[in-house]
Symmetry: C3
Subunit: 325 residues, 3 copies
């Protein structure tokens, strides 16, 4: 919830929020709500949400004035926080987040872009043909941007970076000495929605992508921005071609990922991890530091640090090779 990019359309009066959620309640407060944040970050006059018992310890200390939750979980909230009881906490949270950040739902093409020749970067950046730059973009010194590349709105690029051709970037912070190769798409919303007959309900992605110093991102890769948190690629991480990184993934420093690997949403990869080609990692997993995952493996549970795994489901490489002699 620390997105520096999306415009907060708040404050929104609590009566309007209740109306959006179709709640007719005795609540007769006339309070302006400033923002929607998680239990930890929310302040007085913010709204938050509690959808799982896992977060009860944080809930008891929240400073939020309102909390979207259900009939059971509401009991964990402190007195300063008025529960707003709904059927489906995540769907309701999504609706309210969309009210605060309506631009975070869809990723239509950026209409604000200008040819780089018409921007302040025309002298400071080395650029190819037909390069477009959106609003709220900063670019450091000694950077190159290749032909037909589109730096959409809300992108910060550090020093000594090289962006290839035909790539598209938005809602992304890129640090120094980063190389993004050709045909990449970085910073688009993740594959997040509530399935519904006839018309799925997209939820907002107010997170960003952050790519730290000295990284290299291979051709044809896609890195989605986070939904409520950020997608983070640590320092000196190298991607081969055709990698897919889903929303909220975090990758530790010095990790190396070979071609066509996919990492599903919210998984955390440690430092110095090596992932072989075409391996897949399911969502919401923790892969420890120094882990080695053989090419083609399918990882469906957490992997402790310093392990070497292989197979589908991925297991100890020694055991896998013994079983598959």
């Amino acid at each position: 919830m620390s997105n520096p990019f999306f415009k907060n359309y708040g404050p929104i009066n609590i009566s309007e929020i209740l109306k959006t959620l179709d709640i007719k309640t005795g609540l007769d407060k006339n309070i302006d709500v400033n923002d929607i944040k998680d239990l930890y970050l929310a302040k007085v006059n913010d709204i938050t949400f509690l959808h799982s018992k896992k977060y009860k310890d944080i809930a008891v200390n929240t400073k939020a004035s309102f909390c979207i939750t259900n009939n059971i979980l509401k009991n964990y909230l402190p007195n300063n926080c008025i529960p707003i009881v709904v059927k489906n906490v995540l769907i309701s949270t999504s609706l309210i987040t969309t009210k605060f950040y309506p631009e975070s739902i869809y990723d239509n093409f950026d209409e604000t872009t200008l040819n780089i020749k018409k921007t302040r970067f025309k002298d400071s950046v080395k650029f190819g043909q037909n390069v477009l730059i959106g609003e709220n973009v900063s670019i450091g010194s000694n950077c190159k941007i290749g032909h037909n590349t589109i730096i959409e709105k809300n992108v910060s690029i550090g020093n000594n970076c090289s962006i290839g051709s035909n790539s598209i970037i938005r809602n992304t912070i890129i640090k120094d000495n980063v190389k993004i190769l050709d045909n990449c798409v970085i910073g688009k919303h993740g594959f997040g929605f509530f399935p519904d007959k006839n018309k799925n309900l997209r939820y907002p992605h107010i997170g960003i992508v952050q790519i730290d110093d000295n990284c290299e991102i291979g051709c044809g890769s896609t890195i989605d921005r986070g939904s409520m948190s950020n997608t983070v690629i640590g320092k000196n991480v190298f991607f081969d071609n055709q990698i897919h990184i889903a929303h909220n993934v975090r990758i530790g420093d010095n990790t190396i990922i070979a071609g066509q690997v996919g990492i599903a949403g919210s998984s955390q990869i440690g430092k110095n991890v090596k992932i072989g080609g075409q391996a897949g990692i399911s969502g919401h997993l923790k892969i420890g530091d120094n882990v080695e995952i053989a090419g083609g493996s399918g990882v469906i549970k957490d992997i402790p640090k310093n392990s070497k795994v292989m197979g589908y489901p991925a297991k100890s490489i020694r055991q896998f090779l013994k079983e598959n002699k």
Copy 2:
């Protein structure tokens, strides 16, 4: 064989067809053949083909005047239909289809495109830089088309659609409220050819891609058009990034497909199916409604409706997890 897009270069005289197939026969008819269609759709003065006993029940009732077939299958044809006996029915059918629809074989870039600013869409569509529009394109109201995107010839786009940047579309019907994200290629011919030493023989793709209401197609995805039938994506189907859908695939409504999945030619996916990341589905399979396929699975046989499968080859998820504890 219901392609609304490819120009039929017929009628073609039967003598020319026989010459193309290198057949010297007693047949001394001088009949103009109008079109090539399947056994069911063919009418008087059309040519059809019969390459498998599977279709004998349809064959006996065909209205076609001619049928490309072999020495055994010809006996299923009715009196109104003159058999044209060849060694390899599919190769001969391909040759004749190519004569009727020569433009369906190769997908060279579309030379007919104009910058959208020079077309009738310049006021009705919201568009980015360098957007190109080919011949025989229609676009509904309230649509957006991103930078560098190429709508090649033979595309129909409904209302309220959003096409991303750097995408290429041809021979495709897109219904309402569809989102196509960046870097997609939709409607190109499939991976269909007859292998031959030194120079493979491509066969025609006279089918189209149809994408129904409320779909979303993720970044970097490829959807090939059908060869003799269509590739169809049902209503409210959501694709994550880097999906590949081969020719003639049909996907039912409300199906959800995660990143890097591939579906091989002519497979049929039911409604409300969920397919996890990097799963692969072989060609010519039937996946029933409400099936769940775990990420990374390799499906090599039909899956009955309401099943949950996992593994390679994909089997009952319960069995798979038991065997892989």
Copy 3:
């Protein structure tokens, strides 16, 4: 080491080479070194390298004047060749190769490109909008190049070729009758570097990509150029969409590769091989002629000719299906 494209910045004096390697030695020669080549190709006044006992038989006959090697392997060198003993032969070789070929390390966008309308190809090639052509490009007769495609420097295209739209090609030799479809990236450096904390060390890629007659490369594919040798796609090889071919891979004639396959670095694929969708092949393997690899397989060892394999790790298809009934 037979790259026709990269400029050799030699000769370089041996004293400067030793300084680069931080070697203070009694060696007081003042010799200009012309080039860096492998043990077999190196001539008098060239430098070469020996990093493995595997190459001792070639080493004893090398004509090179200098050889980067270690304290043990140096004993295989003939009298005409002065050993330069280092800790890590490959890293040192990489450093010296970079001195001779500094442009082979990074693939920043090609600044030399011009719109094709301003080049000598404006009348001889059929081209789309916004096509860019770099330096040292040749294009044969009857070729087509689609919209937004970038033919960067050092590309030779034969006759009757069709390049799609949004593709990027450099350092590549394309023979006759080749089709490259849309959104491909061909000829970029491979995923080759020495991992190092904080900042990996890229090694040079002085090889090229060679694509022989009658090939077809599907949409969204990436083919990396070789590091010290070339990446070679034989005659009449057909790729489906979203294929990834790493550096130094060699593929024999008439091979067919289905969608989303990945082949890791330096593997050699025979002639008439068939590879099913999403299969992966590890690096440095030999796949014999006429091999069939089932879709989704993971190949981690050599496969003898005429075999059919399936599974992960790939084994005899008969055995695999028996074990997985």
